[in-house]
């Protein structure tokens, strides 16, 4: 068997305006979770709708379990795909209560094709419990909040036990204090039931926690499809760096196969994550907040221009002689006394595990 799900050369356009341009990615095995990350309005939802068969892409091929769903001359109707989609906006049937809404997907009738997968390992009540909406069972959609409706919609798409589960911003409207618990429970349900899932989100941490793999969608295409660890530490290009907005790029000169040189910071050692610079020796080096270390005794000192409190950490912004703004991460377990306009020392020699250069 090849990949569980394959998406090849997916193009989509509305009125000659490109929404998606040559989107490719695969899910290798059943039960894997893939998260699609990207800014809003970039076409993440369009990918889900194409996979579900709600829109016809202009080009491209979608294969699920060795069966072609969409290609130039084949198209399986959405009702015959056995794919569930939980929509971002409220898509509950307004004239049915929560329980009826959820069972709408389970009850089979004359007008409904049969689901081959059989029942899920969880009952409706189990799921309602896990997502903290048990008490809403008899309520109608207009009587519950947007966040609750979203969880009902989530349960409704899961209980169907589909071949592929698509979740569009499933936790977007949920209060922060519940979010972590629900994320845990969602991951547990998906993993235990072996549901292959694609989750669209703009929350990086949600994607990193839930996804076995993440795809970053920028500029109408998937620019990097990788494990969460690699996405964070080894971004493939400047666009990804900018999207995560985690560090700064500084000019540097390649000295040897493990050394770089920057005018302000001096020598920087480490392992190059990519080495193809087409013969250039002048490159842009990515400095992420945790790359540089604080050291009061160091001779290398810069001015503090800003200090951001992030709960478990501070991020200091330092200004170098050539006006670079460097972020430095410091644990917050003791109150740091460095104030703005004070000097801040950086530990030398500088060693960075992953040297990401462009």
């Amino acid at each position: 068997m090849k990949n569980y799900l394959e998406i090849k050369n997916l193009d989509y356009s509305v009125n000659s305006e490109h929404i998606l341009n040559d989107v490719n990615f695969n899910i290798n095995k059943k039960g894997e979770i893939v998260c699609l990350l990207g800014p809003s309005g970039i076409g993440k939802t369009t990918i889900l709708r194409s996979i579900a068969g709600l829109i016809k892409p202009r080009n491209g091929k979608i294969t699920l379990k060795d069966k072609t769903l969409t290609s130039d001359n084949e198209f399986v109707e959405p009702e015959d795909r056995n794919i569930s989609l939980s929509f971002q906006d409220n898509s509950l049937f307004p004239h049915y209560n929560v329980e009826e809404n959820i069972k709408f997907g389970v009850k089979r009738s004359l007008f409904c094709s049969k689901n081959k997968n059989g029942p899920l390992g969880y009952s409706v009540d189990d799921l309602l419990d896990l997502f903290f909406i048990k008490e809403l069972k008899k309520k109608y959609p207009h009587e519950i909040s947007a966040g609750q409706a979203q969880r009902v919609s989530l349960v409704r798409s899961i209980i169907h036990n589909p071949d592929l589960l698509l979740l569009d911003e499933p936790l977007a409207n949920i209060d922060q204090y519940l979010k972590n618990k629900i994320q845990d429970n969602l991951k547990q349900v998906l993993k235990k039931s072996g549901l292959t899932t694609i989750i669209v989100t703009h929350d990086k941490f949600e994607a990193f926690y839930l996804g076995d793999y993440c795809g970053v969608l920028l500029n109408k295409r998937i620019v990097q499809f990788d494990s969460p660890y690699n996405l964070h530490h080894l971004p493939k290009n400047k666009m990804v760096v900018e999207f995560f907005n985690r560090g700064v790029l500084i000019p540097a000169k390649i000295k040897s196969d493990d050394t770089l040189y920057n005018e302000d910071l001096g020598e920087i050692k480490g392992n190059f994550s990519n080495i193809d610079f087409q013969g250039r020796d002048q490159v842009d080096l990515l400095i992420q907040p945790e790359d540089l270390e604080h050291d009061d005794k160091s001779k290398l000192k810069f001015d503090v221009v800003d200090k951001k409190f992030r709960g478990s950490s501070f991020i200091y912004i330092l200004k170098t002689h050539s006006n670079l703004m460097l972020p430095v991460f410091v644990h917050s377990h003791h109150e740091h006394l460095h104030q703005e306009n004070e000097k801040f020392g950086i530990k030398q020699p500088i060693y960075i595990d992953h040297l990401v250069c462009f």
Binding site: L54, F75, E77, S84, F93, P94, S109, F111, C112, R156
Partner: protein, 542 residues
């Protein structure tokens, strides 16, 4: 394969287009016939008419129109303002009770006015009962025909203005009013600078509807013998057997009607900015006290009395006074006829409008929505013109095919009547289902497909249960309209086939008002029941 798919999707779109195209082309018929009549030679009668009475007809139509507009404005906006912003004794009751006046068609109001003021009429009986025998006839005011028509039509139509204006008033946000106060506006300034301008599109839309119906009115003016364009059309067709003149007069009428139709459409679309959104805060009503409360109450109840209680009491009194005129068999037959028409028409309309609305939902076809927008303009064509042109069309078809098939199935048949009803009330059904569909998010269909339901399964399991209420309301509204409809039924009905409206009209035009009383009373009774059942929907601005 690709070719086949494209071909198939085209066929699908054409399938949805059928009903819209059907109705649209039927609507084109009257317009085309009327326009083409302008290129035929003018008849001698038309020339005579232009030299003699045409001017009078137009003037009469204009006077009638101005009078009705003035009264409808005062009654409609006045009551809407009072019940939307104030609490006074009976304000809650009046809010819905006032729409009962919608159950009394203008011509029946005309009968009651006449019955009340005529020699030895109901006023005479009342005075005799109160003060004993005397020659009251001498002092009895005569109802002027023009003034009588204006009153009758105003009382039966002002509810349009009330309904649309009220919706505009209640959807205003208290925040706007508070903002006005904050800027130091007085109560009067708030009314004139904030409330009225915001409700203006609604008021104009309501008045345009009233204007359209007024100048197309046939029953009231023909009963009072006021010569207007509609009666002139009828006379030149029936008495002078001059169809061309009828068409040329129709042209003027249709011109007027379409001006108001366009104003109404334009104003309605502008009044959309009143639809509430987030941050909207409902208006806080002020409780009136003392003299103010009395005046408000008195004004509303006076209008309610005049527009509903008065005509009902007149008809009731007459039925009781002449028990011989009440014929149970006749009432049963009329009820049966009316329900028959209602059921068939409603079923056809619901089928057609489901087809079109569902088509618009799944295809997103621009052509389809354009055609549909045109096809709902049928409600603007005056009933009398619609009927006359349908008859002409049947003859044209028969002549074209060289047999009398079309004449036989259309002229003087229930089929012909129902065709005309469908053209006229198509808008009602289309909009009734459309407003329901607008509340059903499109992604809901997608959810259903993804759960394995087919398109048809989604329609049956999701759409139909959701639109149940809309279906009932369409049925009610069509029933009220068919009950009250006069010219189409009167002209197109088969021999000896009557509804409450035609029965009452026939008796009234033969000066046998006491016999017109019981069909009129039952007409009002049934319409009132339907109005009461659908009042929640009607109050939303239908």
């Amino acid at each position: 394969m690709q070719f086949y798919q494209n071909y198939f999707s085209k066929i699908k779109i054409n399938f949805w287009l059928i009903s819209s195209l059907l109705i649209s082309s039927l609507i084109c018929v009257p317009i085309l016939i009327i326009l083409s009549s302008f290129f035929t030679e003018l008849s001698g009668y038309y020339k005579l008419l232009t030299e003699t009475y045409l001017y009078t007809y137009v003037i009469n139509t204009v006077i009638l129109f101005i009078g009705v507009i003035l009264f409808s404005f005062v009654f409609g906006v006045g009551i809407a303002y009072l019940v939307s912003f104030y609490i006074f004794p009976g304000s809650k009751f009046i809010t819905w009770a006032i729409i009962l006046s919608f159950a009394v068609p203008g011509y029946i109001y005309a009968y009651s006015l006449t019955a009340f003021f005529e020699y030895f009429g109901n006023l005479y009986s009342l005075l005799t009962f109160l003060f004993g025998e005397a020659d009251y006839n001498k002092y009895m005011p005569r109802v002027d025909s023009m003034f009588g028509s204006i009153l009758s039509i105003s009382f039966s139509l002002f509810v349009y203005v009330y309904l649309i204006t009220r919706v505009c008033f209640i959807y205003q946000s208290q925040n706007q009013i508070d903002a006005g106060r904050n800027m130091g506006f007085s109560k009067y300034q708030i009314f004139s600078k904030i409330l009225i301008p915001a409700a203006r599109p609604g008021i104009i839309a309501g008045l345009s509807l009233v204007a359209m119906e007024t100048i197309s009115d046939f029953g009231t003016v023909s009963f009072f013998n006021v010569q207007t364009l509609t009666t002139a059309i009828y006379d030149s067709w029936i008495f002078y057997d001059d169809l061309n003149t009828a068409y040329q007069l129709s042209f003027f009428l249709i011109l007027f009607v379409f001006i108001f139709f366009s104003i109404e459409k334009f104003s309605r679309s502008r009044s959309q900015y009143n639809i509430p959104n987030k941050g909207y805060k409902t208006v806080e009503k002020t409780t009136l006290k003392g003299k103010q409360a009395f005046i408000a109450s008195f004004f509303c109840f006076f209008i309610f009395f005049l527009s509903f209680v008065f005509p009902v009491s007149q008809m009731l009194f007459w039925v009781l006074k002449f028990p011989a005129s009440f014929n149970l068999n006749e009432i049963l037959t009329l009820s049966f006829n009316t329900s028959f028409l209602v059921i068939i028409t409603t079923s056809i309309l619901i089928f057609l409008s489901f087809l079109t609305n569902y088509g618009m939902r799944v295809t997103d076809s621009k052509l389809l929505s354009t055609v549909t927008n045109f096809s709902i303009s049928g409600y603007a064509i005056p009933g009398i013109i619609l009927s006359v042109t349908i008859l002409t069309f049947a003859s044209l078809l028969s002549n074209f095919f060289g047999n009398s098939f079309f004449k036989i199935i259309i002229i003087g048949t229930v089929f012909g009547m129902i065709t005309a009803y469908c053209i006229r009330f198509y808008a009602l059904a289309i909009n009734g289902i459309k407003s329901g569909y607008e509340k059903l998010n499109k992604s809901i269909d997608d959810v259903s497909y993804l759960m394995g339901y087919t398109k048809f399964g989604t329609f049956i399991k999701v759409h139909v249960p959701f639109l149940k209420q809309n279906l009932v309301i369409i049925g009610m509204m069509v029933s009220i309209d068919i009950l009250k409809e006069l010219p189409i039924t009167f002209i197109l009905r088969p021999y000896n086939f009557d509804t409450f409206a035609t029965k009452a009209y026939v008796f009234a035009s033969q000066d046998m008002l006491e016999y017109a009383a019981s069909p009129s009373l039952f007409l009002i009774l049934f319409s009132s029941i339907f109005i009461l059942f659908s009042r929640k929907f009607i109050l939303k601005g239908f």
